[in-house]
């Protein structure tokens, strides 16, 4: 057990990140444990503690008396320094056991820019960074989460990956481990990896060989053994109603990023925005019933004492029983201070009315995401929103008393012209003018946030060449010149992080060496702008002889083998190609949730169906 001295803890910022003991943290008796997990999000405590996926896995695993699941996050550099100085290995926040003593270490892969933190954490734990160097007594390193739809850039660091939703398969992995421990004579890692590879949804990267053409392009991935699948479909929970989920989340001692309860209304989104990976990754839509949600809410509130709850989903306003649920919840908590909020708003007056109903005590700004500045481009990306929709929604908001609106856009979408970029400014101007028209005053604030588009695997835009750094800069400049209204605040950021994300998210196995090299050169917390050092990465690419443009700038051919196609959400390639073609024609594709199937193929491939209580599917 690791003991931290006050000399260490008092010398670092926010020591409570490292001391555990929070309300509802689970402490197990290790005499009864046959399988242990250290669950991690490779980011700082406040970010990691906010992750819903890990909260779910923590409770699911700990619901078993023979399994222990504990937490570990990335120490902030000041703590890392102290740990290295005093030879303190990385440990978990429950038992303070060294990471090395666990059977599994699971990393939640939320975004590409935290990969170097994983390497750093393994090093701090005294575990070899490359999976091939790990010996029999070492933990298995597992990855899961949204980035699994292309894990090739980090394939060499992980023993295996869980593709898709983890709450069911993680128990299958644990059971396989317990059985293997009881049966195996050799305790040879490869033996276990063969067993686990037989579980649906598990990808063991070392069981595949990657080949490349002479010109450097990716040729294909071949299984090295007969019993290994060529493609791994994601796992989905078919019965959202009864699957184990969060009832007793940990209440942190210190303020975290999302310091509130999260009630997951449903999983999936079928609106079909063509840039969106989550839209494909979490299909099909599966709702929970409002009765189930009402009882879950009650349990969570009683178990934590939180006074704030977010009704979480990819697009919460699409929940078919939302009005009923909100009435039920407000009825249950009248007279008690309890805030419910929606994390994302649809652009329509229904959403505004709901937001108004919920936020009776708070009038913080409203956030909308039109994503593109002109109707033409919004049609390209299948964002089924018109200017009229936006103005109607804003008008409803202004009438209800809001005076701050945040608008989210992307820059660098396929077919984008300067006119589309300027369209962002025009749209924002119209919102400002609308406020003046309705209120007769000028005290409105419109924030325009523009991010740089990163094409993602398994979207219709997966073939598209990302804009270059210079092009992003030019477009940002144009937009800046066209925003001359003091009521409009324009937020954008340097495109380097999006460029790096663009390279890694469509990269292949050869990038493992680059990530390792960047880490060795000091890259860490790359997602934190104050810590991000692009020159380190540029050097790392150069030293490994990697031409990055082949990954992010090049527009790929439809018939090219893509390095990520074997770990799939189950979508048909032809569907993505059709969607690309429709995008080029500015043709829309409807939402399959309450009308006909649009043929993405996921329901059929995974034998799962949409659950929508209104549509009664």
């Amino acid at each position: 057990m690791i003991k931290l001295s006050p000399a260490v803890l008092q010398a670092v910022s926010k020591p409570a990140r490292y001391t555990g003991g929070e309300v509802n943290a689970v402490h197990k008796d290790y005499n009864k444990i046959s399988c242990s997990f250290a669950l991690s999000m490779p980011d700082v405590y406040e970010v990691g503690m906010s992750n819903l996926g890990l909260k779910i896995l923590y409770e699911v695993l700990n619901s078993r008396t023979d399994i222990a699941a504990e937490r570990v996050y990335t120490p902030w550099p000041d703590m890392e320094e102290k740990m290295r100085e005093n030879n303190i290995p990385l440990y978990t926040l429950e038992s303070f056991r060294e990471l090395k003593e666990f059977d599994f270490i699971g990393f939640s892969l939320q975004y590409e820019l935290i990969y170097t933190n994983i390497l750093n954490m393994l090093d701090l734990a005294g575990i070899p960074i490359f999976s091939k160097d790990r010996t029999a007594e070492m933990p298995f390193i597992i990855g899961g989460g949204p980035c699994v739809y292309n894990v090739e850039p980090i394939a060499e660091f992980f023993d295996f990956f869980i593709i898709g939703e983890g709450e069911e398969v993680i128990l299958e992995v644990a059971d396989a481990y317990i059985k293997w421990q009881a049966q195996s004579k050799t305790h040879d890692r490869v033996e276990f990896l063969h067993r686990v590879a037989a579980i649906s949804g598990i990808y063991v990267p070392s069981f595949y060989r990657a080949d490349y053409y002479e010109n450097g392009l990716f040729k294909g991935l071949t299984p090295l053994y007969d019993d290994i699948p060529t493609t791994i479909n994601k796992r989905v929970v078919k019965d959202m109603e009864n699957v184990l989920t969060v009832e007793k989340p940990i209440v942190p001692y210190i303020n975290i990023v999302h310091d509130r309860l999260m009630l997951e209304l449903f999983r999936g989104c079928s609106r079909g925005c063509r840039f969106c990976q989550a839209g494909i990754a979490y299909r099909p839509v599966r709702e929970r019933s409002s009765e189930r949600l009402r009882s879950l809410a009650k349990k969570m509130i009683n178990n934590t004492g939180y006074d704030e709850m977010s009704l979480t989903s990819l697009s919460s306003a699409d929940y078919s029983c939302l009005p009923v649920l909100i009435d039920d919840l407000t009825e249950d908590y009248t007279g008690e201070k309890m805030n419910f909020s929606l994390p994302s708003l649809r652009i329509d007056s229904f959403s505004i009315d709901i937001a108004h109903k919920l936020q009776t005590t708070r009038k913080s700004g409203l956030t909308f995401a039109p994503e593109a500045g002109t109707q033409r481009l919004r049609d390209v990306i299948n964002k089924g929103v018109t200017e009229e929709d936006l103005l109607k929604a804003c008008s409803a908001a202004f009438k209800h008393g809001w005076k701050t609106v945040k608008l989210y856009f992307m820059m660098g979408l396929p077919t984008e012209t300067d006119e589309d970029v300027i369209g962002i400014a025009t749209l924002a101007e119209k919102v400002v003018a609308l406020y003046k028209e309705i209120k007769g005053r000028r005290d409105v604030k419109v924030t325009v946030s523009v991010s740089c588009f990163v094409p993602k695997p398994f979207t219709p835009f997966q073939w598209f060449g990302q804009n270059s750094k210079a092009e992003f800069k030019r477009k940002q400049q144009i937009l800046k010149e066209h925003i001359n209204n003091r009521a409009i605040q324009f937020n954008y950021h340097d495109s380097s992080t999006s460029i790096l994300e663009g390279i890694i998210s469509r990269g292949d196995r050869r990038l493992s060496k680059v990530i390792y090299r960047a880490y060795k050169k000091g890259a860490k917390f790359d997602g934190w702008s104050e810590m991000f050092k692009f020159p380190i990465w540029e050097e790392a690419f150069a030293e490994e002889g990697i031409d990055t443009s082949q990954y992010n700038l090049r527009t790929r051919d439809f018939d090219e083998q893509l390095p990520w196609e074997h770990t799939t959400p189950g979508v048909k390639k032809q569907f993505l190609i059709n969607e690309w073609n429709k995008a080029m024609q500015q043709e829309l594709t409807h939402d399959c949730r309450r009308s006909s199937c649009t043929g993405c193929g996921i329901c059929q491939a995974l034998d799962v169906g949409i659950i929508d209580w209104e549509g009664n599917k």
Partner: protein, 234 residues
Amino acid sequence: MTVFRIEITKEEQLRYISHLDYANLLQRAIRRAGLPAAYSEGFNPHMKVSFASAMAVGVTADAEYADVELTNNICQPEFFDKLKAVLPAGMKLLRAKEITSGRHQSMNALVDTALYEMKFPDDITADELQATIDQFNAAPTLIFVREKQGKGAKKGRIIKKEIDIKQFLASALTAGEADNVVLAAIKVSPLGSIKPIEIINALKINYLPTLDSNAVLINRKTLSAGGKNLMDLI
């Protein structure tokens, strides 16, 4: 309306949390207990809980005090049991007393003395520590330079202020019963006070150059007003 004054601890598990986080922890516990907490009016209502002091990160306390306002009358045993049952590790409920006098003064304004114990690390010998205490007590004044981040027009600059530590001590430093412990009774007033860590740093600068200030553990033993415990004022 009922107001309860409570005496609670801030133990080792909670050493590193801030005052705000500590307050949050208590408020969430009150909600878990299902007690009928009163809230302020307005846009952003907050639970009506007021503390006697703001405990710094890194400091534990044998006793901290808070006044908790409720909308309904409930009896003391019920209040005590319900709250005690849900408090997190490191926050123990020692006493709870209903404030019956119609008007009670805020504890904040009444508190005048805080007694701290400071446990020094083992690499400081008992003799060294005793010598330090003696020198400190013998010195007529002891100036400490407090550095603060400038605000407003002085933003970005560090503002230095010389303060005499001794003017804030209610009595001489003494050695505690346990090994390597120094006791300091600090005066608290609206005009200002001094933090235990500032005393420690001053001792380091003047008498104990090898001391790692971060290795000293600080605990507040008592908080009092006019020589009385805050529970006895009501």
